[in-house]
Amino acid sequence: MTCSALKVLSWCGAMAGLIAGALVAPTPSARAAGVLKVAMTAGDLPVTTGNPDQGFEGFRFVGWNLYDALINWDLSKSDRASDIKPGLATEWHVDPANHKRWIFTLRQGVKWHDGCDFTADDVVWNFQRISDPKAPQFFTQQFALSRAYLTNFDNIEKIDDHSVAITTKFVESLFPYDMSYVLMISRCRAQALNYDWTAYANQPSGTGPYRFASMTAHERMELVPNNDYWDKARVPKQDRLVLLPTPEAATRTAALLSGQVNFIEAPAPDAIPVLKRAAMQIVSNAYPHNWPYILNFTRGPFTDLRVRQAANYAINRDDVVDLVGGMATPEYAEVPPTLPYYGHPVIYKFDKAKARALLKDANCLPCKVTLAISTSGSGQMQSLPMNELVKQQLEDAGFEVTLNVMDWNALLDVSRSGVPKYPNVDGMNASRGLLDPVSAIIKPVATAYWSPAGSNWGHFGTPEADALVKQIFEEFEPEQRLALLTRLHEYESEQALMIFVVHDLNPRALSPKVHGFVQAQNWFQDLTPITVDP
């Protein structure tokens, strides 16, 4: 073969390639009808061994689908605040003779996915699994993930086959809310596997509306409907639920546009016009969320009230809202005005000059602070650009900010372990769920909840706060309690407890083939009523 022949041949080859490429029509891939494919912001699949990791997104897509708690959340309405409702317990009340003792009446006729019956012994076994290091079923990972909700848990005993009694360490009138975050797993399955948790993770068994079908580590999890679910109204209407961890907003958006998925969390706000043009449904709703910087009260510049106030005055919240394409509302206090105990808190309206004056007064100019942030995650919104904007705003007012960027799960560890383990972090940007008053305004200020035992990350503690909390916990009359909660909320604004930035509006994008989704005013969502056209 001569050189010139080589030349001719290669031309022919190139032409053939071009023609072949043009002729090959893209084959539409066979898509099963009724399969809901979800792209989550989580960087990895949430664990299936009970309480999930990856934050509330783990609960949203895995925890509440595979499992129930004694008390569940009502996720059926989008136009009112979401509250708790009976789950595996049909009724609960405090023992009138002993306010530290709660009686739970258990639901009858419930079966685990593996066929065993749900019994009172199962409930006792579950609590031991996450609280008693001497129990054979104790699992460190689950202990760490459930710890924040068991701060007030003392012990549990079976009364009879239909009820259990849980004793708390101190009187807490809002205790049932804590129990709405503790999921129950199957004792049958765990014992059959001899407490091999790695094996259990691949064959989880709960009472929830979905059964586990399959999982490819780091890539994909598939769940199928549990047709024997005890709540007939919530048996899933799709054929299959597929979960895909997709931490990058652009990748999620591309996946939705190309049809690889039909439901995405938190689309990139800039992409929303493009998604709308492609006939995607954009849904959003107010929900009890805040996006703040949680502060360190043991050491550092934020121990001074003036510095905290300065930081709040420095934030131009309208700009941040613009940055996320209007998918947020400005936040001036701990909870959004839609909650009943909002009251009349101090409002730190944007005032750069005032911020600077306060810093000068506090002798902290420039004020060096280190903030821990994440790259993505449940409720973290568009974390990186938002943090860069906030950093700029703080620095304009006289701060000197160092951002410590980490993966969401790593930030969650900072969050759970608290300032004892991370004393040099001055502030942490971790979004907060405000579903119940305890999580919303009590845990961040009470000394009983100091990390790592609870979620008072920065160890805030004053006699006034503790006194108020004690009063609230001992008040079982709802109206009086509401007045006390309002007072506590206002106190927290006076104290500039956190750097308040925005409340999220929880945007989601759905394919036009997805129907039936009701977006509750809650971090958790109910996927069961969703149907997908073929």
């Binding site: 907003a249 652009a250 790259t375 860069e388």
Partner: protein, 304 residues
């Protein structure tokens, strides 16, 4: 990206038997190189571009139209020419042109510094290895072989990742990646020269080892080392931008081309062109260094 170091054939002048002090001969060789370059318009043209890029980067404060850190929420992801921004704005409203110009500084430093460090360190080790006895030679060269056994991006990511990212760690890890190759080039060149007659003659006339190295060896080693180093620069720029893209290089809000690609990626749909700009900058810089180094290598290759 991991070509074996092939010392350009004929980089050692074939006219080694010419009489006269070595210093004069070396100058003559370099003169002929320059002479050849003068007629290679391709290399000259791209050389001018490289120079322009470097000058623009150095003169950034004078040239950049805006402050590269100044954000503007109103002016996010705007197109070319919007309100005086020649190349539009990025996802936080910062001027793209200014960020690209300032970004050139960091990207060039992260591209050039590792090559410089690797040349000095690797070159020294190579000359020592080539000149010293068998034991030292084996020790040095086998250690280099171990590092050479890693694909470059893998080693760079591993070291940088373990150390926790950041610009300094990035430079350190890239230097570690390039040192073995430079060492090999220098050692091969030194070994080739070491046993030539005129070295024997110099030794016989009483010259110390250091003198021999300075006057006789260095001139011949510098050639291949310089060629190889110049070909490494474009690789280094690509690797450094890759590290930044993965989040292991500089941290925001520093402008760096790789980092800009990573953050602009999120705005792929609104502003695809803006997304492409840092990539184009990396490409142009890399290809110019590549072509200049090719041209210089061609000029230094006596056999042509």
């Amino acid at each position: 990206m991991n070509e074996r170091a092939v010392v350009a054939q004929g980089a050692i002048p074939a006219d080694s038997e010419v009489d006269g002090a070595p210093a004069i001969r070396v100058r003559g060789y370099w003169q002929s190189v320059l002479h050849r370059l003068r007629y290679d318009w391709v290399t000259l043209a791209f050389g001018v571009v490289v120079l322009a890029i470097v000058i623009v980067a150095i003169a950034a404060p004078l040239i950049a139209p805006f402050d590269p850190y100044q954000q503007s929420i109103v002016g996010r992801l705007k197109p070319f020419g919007w309100r005086g921004h020649p190349w539009g704005t990025d996802e936080l409203g910062r001027d793209m042109m200014s960020r690209l110009i300032y970004g050139g500084r960091i990207s060039l430093v992260m591209g050039l510094a590792p090559v410089l460090i690797a040349t000095v360190v690797g070159g020294t080790l190579g000359v020592i290895g080539g000149f010293a006895g068998r034991l030292a030679n084996t020790a040095i060269m086998r250690t280099m072989d171990v590092f050479y056994a890693f694909p470059s991006i893998l080693l760079a990511v591993a070291i940088s990742g373990a150390m926790g990212g950041g610009m300094i760690n990035g430079i350190i890890s890239l230097s570690l990646v390039f040192t073995p190759a430079m060492c090999r080039v220098a050692e091969t060149a030194t070994a080739q020269v070491k046993n030539l007659d005129y070295i024997e003659a110099a030794r016989a006339s009483g010259a110390g080892t250091l003198t021999i190295i300075r006057y006789h060896v260095l001139g011949n080693v510098l050639g291949p080392v310089f060629i190889y180093a110049s070909s490494l620069v474009s690789v280094s720029i690509l690797l450094a931008s890759g590290l930044s893209f993965l989040g292991l290089g500089v941290q925001p809000p520093e402008p760096d081309w790789g980092l800009m690609l990573s953050t602009l990626r999120q705005s792929l749909y609104v502003d695809p062109l803006g997304c492409a700009l840092p990539g184009i900058a990396i490409f142009i810089t890399s290809i110019c260094f590549n072509l200049v180094s090719d041209g210089v290598r061609g000029a230094m290759d006596v056999r042509g």
